[in-house]
Symmetry: C2
Subunit: 427 residues, 2 copies
């Protein structure tokens, strides 16, 4: 997909270009002769050979995104950067199918986690109730965050690997008034995919004023999210997953309704850095191509965000989602053919950007992941506290999926199969 997006400006001299890129290779970690045989060089990439990072974020990045990370210094209020930041905020809307301008996109130096602080300190006042739908590790953390700022989280927990049912949500919503409902769209610890469209519709029907908050850290860019049509209030995410940009940003979109709820707060926001009051005018100004200052934005990371959004939006999002679904199906069916089971148990509620896989009996993580790594493929261990040592995770998002020339998952699935065999498990 990345190859369809072309750039037309070139001013650099080739000798200078060569020197910059040589420096790039100097600064990658030292590769010993033993390790170097495990490095994988993508056919089509200009990047130095490196182990393929196929975890649920950070994902592999395109050459264009990495080059944008190396943009020479720019003032954060220069016309050049204002243009880039404004364009990035505008293109972000498209990722959410958003056209309602009462909503606002945000991109702020930080991390996906910081998005929770924005929710908890701006949309929930001390003492107000929040319903937290729990499909894995990240709901515990989100509940912790809400409580930190004085909100009262009530968790509705699914069994590990399963979803919270609509019936359970409806019952909870009828018991008390919740200021917000939070949904982890894809819980990165389990690979469970929640049906945010149906949940949002249920909330609107049963408790119309309750704000619907989506943690889209492992879903934005790989799962369909129709922000306006589904009447969502805030979707937060991070760049290093399906958006395909290095970690370092908190990205989110807030609805007109959410911003009105914020404006009607009785108490001031309970965070300083994560305050809508501070950042909303900044984002509005940049999107209107006007410089503005609260705290220096991460210029290079924003350049990288714009570069990736241009690549992503160069093809219809439906095609992007379909490509990820096809790859996910292939990985999940291959894993099943090896006799392995997914953590996410319910058909139709399994993430399209990652797969969490239980280890076979008799094989421990230290028997498997190092063998896979020795083949140049980095996968992730478990994260859900109760089962952390019993499973591993594969991320399948971004350029590793959309650029089939890379053959990243041919390599990965081969490495998994060989490594299982070496560990004594016959596929």
């Amino acid at each position: 997909m990345s190859r369809r997006h072309s750039h037309s400006h070139s001013t650099i001299s080739s000798s200078a270009a060569l020197r910059l890129a040589q420096l790039s290779s100097h600064l990658t970690p030292a590769v010993s002769s033993e390790q170097s045989s495990t490095m994988t060089k993508s056919k089509a990439s200009a990047q130095a050979a490196h182990p393929l990072t196929l975890i649920p974020g950070p994902v592999e990045f395109t050459d264009e995104v990495l080059a944008a990370m190396a943009t020479p210094s720019q003032s954060h209020v220069s016309p050049q950067f204002v243009e880039v930041f404004g364009d990035a905020l505008a293109l972000l809307r498209q990722l959410f199918f958003n056209t309602d301008k009462r909503a606002q996109t945000f991109a702020i130096a930080g991390a996906g986690t910081l998005g929770w602080d924005f929710v908890a300190s701006n949309l929930i006042e001390p003492g107000e109730d929040a319903l937290v739908l729990h499909t894995g590790y990240f709901a515990d953390s989100l509940a912790d965050c809400i409580a930190t700022y004085g909100g009262k989280p009530t968790q509705l927990k699914a069994p590990i690997g399963d979803i919270v049912t609509l019936d359970a949500i409806e019952t909870a919503l009828k018991e008390k008034k919740f200021k917000v409902v939070t949904i982890t769209h894809v819980d990165t610890s389990t690979g469970v995919l929640s049906d945010i469209k149906s949940i949002a519709a249920l909330v609107r029907a049963v408790s119309p004023e309750t704000l619907v908050i989506v943690d889209g850290v492992c879903s934005v860019g790989v799962e369909e999210i129709r922000f306006d049509d589904w009447d969502l209030d805030l979707v937060l995410t991070a760049p290093q997953k399906a958006i395909g940009v290095p970690a370092g940003l908190s990205i989110f979109i807030a609805s007109g309704r959410a911003l009105d709820v914020f404006r009607a707060r009785k108490a001031p926001p309970t965070s300083y850095y994560a305050s809508f009051a501070k950042w909303l005018p900044i984002m509005q100004n940049y999107e209107a191509k006007k410089p503005s200052y609260f705290s220096t934005p991460p210029v290079q990371n924003i350049h990288a965000l714009l570069a990736s959004l241009k690549q992503i939006l160069a093809v219809p999002l439906a095609d992007r989602f379909a490509a990820h679904a096809r790859m996910s199906d292939r990985i999940k069916s291959t894993i099943a053919s090896y006799g392995l089971k997914q953590v996410a148990v319910r058909e139709g509620y399994q993430a399209n950007g990652m797969t969490a896989v239980y280890l076979p009996d008799g094989v421990a993580l230290p028997d498997l992941l190092p063998r896979i790594a020795s083949r140049g493929i980095v996968l992730a261990g478990g994260l859900h506290k109760e089962i952390a040592t019993k499973y591993f995770r594969i991320g399948h998002m971004g350029v590793s999926v959309t650029d089939e020339d890379r053959e990243d998952f041919d390599k990965a699935l081969g490495a998994i199969k060989e490594s299982l065999a070496e560990a004594g498990y016959t596929v």
Copy 2:
């Protein structure tokens, strides 16, 4: 200075190298034929021609730092990245002359501003008093941050351009018990340099339990800060100033005393993302070269931090400070020879990394900065609310100072002189 640090690992092929660097130039903002005559190409740099950013941050970056920003994807818990993050945290200590391991360095995705949230939500409990020494814009913001988390800031304000005197501080300290005293080492809105060594000694003498907090955003890397010797408790900074790394990190060091005060809190921290409880074990683990997870770190920004710290620490810090002081003296005396006055009025209390300069009568910012920009030099306007339209600012930190081959300030001072003349002010 950067040239003294050499790297020895090279794995990239030259054709791939060339392609990556060409992409880099593609992704810099479009340069029109009109603009291109204003682009400045450093003799020794491999970067695409671009306007020189000589503002009080972001500063110009070295080729090595930009190349590190383009490091291919790495898992945040991979042995390779753990090594890099651990080394960066260890080298950060050297920047503060810190050897006392009860202190801890932190580098977290965010911004300089986020450091204030760390101070206000971890070291000050709701209702506790903070003495905020005010030498410009940033003290107002810091006081706002402290109040957000329930602390009670008392500002001690200097006249614009001047320092808060030791007498005034002593009087204030004797009036009530302050949990913390905050000092803006260099206020970027005025260029006033505070004497943190003497202030810290005074605090220890008069109110030994009061924590001494330094906002070193525009000072760390250019002004001497002896964290252990001067008995400081927390110094926070940002990467895009004298550390010479793109914006996107909150960097700080906290003393053993500060961490003990945190551990003895009665109330839990009032921020989630900016919580010592969350991040302290993460930083300790990475520095001990053990992977650890709370929130995904910004892998590429940390690579860039390590690259820059290696360059900075390749020469004695005293030499670095002296080089900055010489350049600062040169710029300040040249400005004076033009008949212009500094905002920072008191000799010996003027920043070594920036100069804030009042405009001459009859010349407004829009008469001057665009003319300077047309010569390929980006300077900054005013920031202090009360005088914002009356002055401009020059940043002189990092590679533009230490690499004399670049001749950045020959160009900048020439551009200022010519532009003043064009605007009708005869030097």
